[in-house]
């Protein structure tokens, strides 16, 4: 690694240098990530889009510490990190709420794990319940809530842990279109209010552009950054921004690159 990239990695919130990752599967080696480099600055909202199976989720798993960075380095808060479990908030497509806990007790799970006394943790969760649209539902069990509410409860669980990096793996993938767009607006509000650094993985090009400062387009497997697009749109963005320039040309650019990726890589690459 050159001195310049080292310098850059150390000043970024999250930095990935030359991440390579293979999975062994039935005696064969499947390269999943092939030389991923990217950096996210403090307070940025960054999205990763790419074809299915391009290693997006693996990348989030590496940043979250669920998997090691293979050959390559991961930097968090200016320090090299290998398995930074418990240092970043991670939100899954599924809400993963525990069905035997009330909504309130689900949201304090992370605090409980950290050893915060239950009463204190509950008080902190209650302060934020309104902002997360959970007011009046704190004592309900998850089955009684709508999909959007459950997802917000899962968000609150991540936010309460106090980590300033949030990784979102298609958090709105399972929601209907209307709920999804409401949740997107709500998420932007949350991001502004809590000053988090967010990395979002999504299939949805429009969602990525609407929410992000920068979009990374991944190649098909083995994944690497194929295109980086800075989204130069003023904030706050209203919903009708998506029907005007320059949003439309951004979208066209991303879709064209995605389509090409799909054509170039019809066959699985095995090594």
């Amino acid at each position: 690694m050159s001195a310049a990239t080292q310098q850059q990695s150390a000043s970024s919130k999250i930095a990935l240098n030359g991440i390579r990752k293979d999975f062994a599967y039935k005696g064969r080696v499947l390269p999943v990530l092939d030389g991923v480099d990217f950096a996210v600055q403090e307070g940025e909202f960054v999205s990763i889009v790419g074809p299915s199976g391009c290693g997006k989720s693996t990348l989030l798993n590496i940043i979250a510490g669920l998997e090691d960075p293979g050959q390559g380095t991961l930097w968090l808060n200016g320090q090299e990190a290998r398995r930074p479990l418990g240092q970043v908030g991670y939100m899954h497509q599924k809400d993963l709420l525990l069905p035997w806990r009330t909504v309130l007790d689900n949201t304090i799970l992370g605090l409980e794990v950290q050893g915060v006394p239950k009463g204190q943790a509950r008080a902190r969760a209650l302060e934020l319940a309104e902002r997360f649209g959970l007011k009046g539902f704190e004592k309900e069990y998850p089955y009684a809530l709508s999909g959007g509410m459950r997802q917000r409860a899962a968000f609150l669980r991540s936010v309460l842990t106090g980590k300033d990096i949030l990784l979102l793996d298609e958090p709105f993938g399972a929601l209907d279109a209307l709920t999804r767009s409401q949740m997107q607006e709500w998420l932007v509000g949350l991001w502004t209010a809590f000053k988090k650094t967010i990395v979002l993985v999504t299939h949805d090009v429009e969602e990525a552009l609407f929410l992000s400062d920068r979009v990374y387009l991944f190649s098909a497997r083995p994944g690497h950054v194929k295109l980086t697009l800075s989204v130069d749109l003023p904030r706050p963005r209203s919903l009708d921004v998506v029907t005007r320039e320059p949003f439309i040309s951004y979208k066209a650019q991303l879709l064209a690159a995605l389509r090409q990726e799909g054509q170039d890589n019809r066959e699985e690459v095995w090594r």
């Binding site: 418990g86 899954h92 069905p99 035997w100 992370g110 069990y141 998850p142 842990t161």
Partner: protein
């Protein structure tokens, strides 16, 4: 809704309680649940009674239901004494099996090596007929309660441990990963996620074990005992006290059903979230 549902919660209930336009449905449901089985039983008993009376079958060959009830009333002190013995054997055995199974299942969930070593042995042990082991226990631990309790432990341990272990291992990998990203330690994942997930499975095992425990106690008594309902049935037959033998069988059946119902009741009280989620799901489907 995509609540993480245990297999046991997927049973659909014919619940119609919340349909205002179908007020007769709860009554119908009650009828289906209770009235029909009771009617069926009454019919069976009636035919039995009539057959015995009509063909004048001697009581030592096949006692009429009325004769069995009569015997139960007349010899109630005797029945009570022997019931108490059998019930104690079953309950002691169940309690021990419960403790062992929870410890072993937890150990298997924690250690793959332990699981690989012990699990095949557990399955293999189930292929040995208990009726072969029971007499040997008399040689090893003598008469009295001990050999019967051991037989109960042997027959009830397996359903308990297998169900509990399946429950502990049924946690979704995503759920485990979520806990790990929250910074949870192995033990915290166990107590906060795995153990509660396993509870419904544990109760399923306990329902099976509850009925098995009575059978186990009887097997234990059958090979050598001086008290208990198993002993009573066995000692009554050579004396042609057939009604007494039948009476013991009736009590045994009631004991099995009773233990099962107690476990089911404890389950409902201990896992209100599961019961409520099941109801909510059923209502949703109804509407």
């Amino acid at each position: 809704m995509e609540v993480v549902r245990k297999p046991s919660t997927q049973k659909k209930e014919g619940s119609a309680a919340a349909k205002p336009w179908a007020a007769s449905r709860p009554a119908l449901r009650l009828l289906q649940m209770w009235a029909l089985p009771v009617l069926g039983l009454a019919l069976l008993v009636g035919v039995w009674q009539a057959t015995v009376t009509f063909f004048s079958i001697p009581a030592w060959k096949l006692p009429a239901p009325s004769a069995i009830v009569n015997e139960l009333m007349v010899s109630r002190a005797l029945f009570f004494k022997h019931t108490w013995v059998t019930l104690s054997e079953a309950l002691y055995g169940l309690a021990l099996a419960f403790l062992f199974s929870v410890v072993v299942a937890a150990a298997m969930a924690f250690s793959r090596t332990f699981q690989r070593t012990v699990y095949p042995l557990l399955i293999a042990s189930q292929t040995i007929p208990i009726i072969v082991v029971a007499p040997l226990l008399l040689i090893w631990v003598g008469y009295g309660l001990a050999p019967k309790i051991i037989v109960v432990v042997l027959v009830t341990f397996f359903p308990l441990v297998v169900n509990t272990m399946d429950g502990l291992r049924s946690v979704e990998p995503d759920m485990m990963n979520m806990m790990r990203t929250l910074g949870a330690r192995r033990w915290q994942i166990f107590t906060k996620v795995q153990a509660p997930t396993a509870l419904p499975y544990l109760f399923s095992g306990a329902k099976i074990a509850a009925t098995f425990s009575i059978i186990g106690a009887i097997i234990g008594e059958w090979v050598g005992a001086s008290a208990g309902l198993g002993y009573l049935t066995r000692s009554s037959v050579p004396l042609f006290l057939t009604a007494r033998s039948f009476g013991a069988v009736v009590i045994l059946a009631l004991l099995g059903i009773g233990l099962f119902l107690i476990v089911a009741l404890v389950e409902r009280l201990a896992l209100p979230w599961q019961y409520n989620a099941r109801r909510a799901k059923a209502l949703e489907e109804d509407w």
